[in-house]
Symmetry: C2
């Protein structure tokens, strides 16, 4: 039995999220900064995704599983699809516990996006 | 000569922008709030549009015309197209002065978006 199979992979889904960019009002963004930030804004640019993000962000303990946020009026596979998109954009992290995958808002990313929109 | 031609039309392009929504972490958004907020996020979800928005937001005096922000690497018609999209989303207002249309960031909208991303 190799070590590789024994060692638990802690938080395998956490992505290398880098806080991005000075306030939009401070100086013009360069291309690289804009690419990164636009990816996050785009992820929130869909009403259903935004509601799901808000449902996770405001859920008790700051985390939720698909089972907790089924009241947005879309099917569970659709919920899962959107949560995956939010995760890919670095806005959510996830962790499997038992049957369910729990999603959590990445606070540093929320703070970075908020900072972007600060009036300098 | 009619009055209509004499009277200056002050800020004719200002839209009825309503500050939107509590922090995403406070409570789940409802459908109507999400529609409105997603529209703004979507407008910033394109790298070129985000750079242009940042160029206007950070320009001297908080306003800029197309002539001021031509260094994003896209044609002037493309710049104009994106500025129009930002205006439609309520993120910019515009005013024609002489030859040029000047764009200005709507500070209340920026503040409202920043508030959305506040960690409650």
């Amino acid at each position: 039995m190799s070590n590789a199979k024994v060692l638990p992979l802690l938080e395998p889904d956490v992505q290398g999220v880098v806080p991005c960019c000075p306030p939009l009002t401070e100086r013009p963004m360069n291309a690289e900064e804009a690419e990164r930030a636009a990816r996050m804004f785009k992820a929130l640019g869909d009403p259903v995704r935004l509601r799901l993000f808000s449902a996770v962000a405001s859920h008790e303990g700051g985390e939720a599983c698909v089972c907790d946020i089924s009241d947005v009026g879309v099917s569970q596979p659709t919920v899962s699809h959107h949560l995956k998109k939010l995760k890919e954009a670095g806005l959510l992290t996830s962790e499997r516990r038992g049957t369910w995958v729990y999603y959590r808002v990445e606070p540093s990313v929320l703070a970075a996006m908020g900072r972007l929109l600060t009036v300098a």
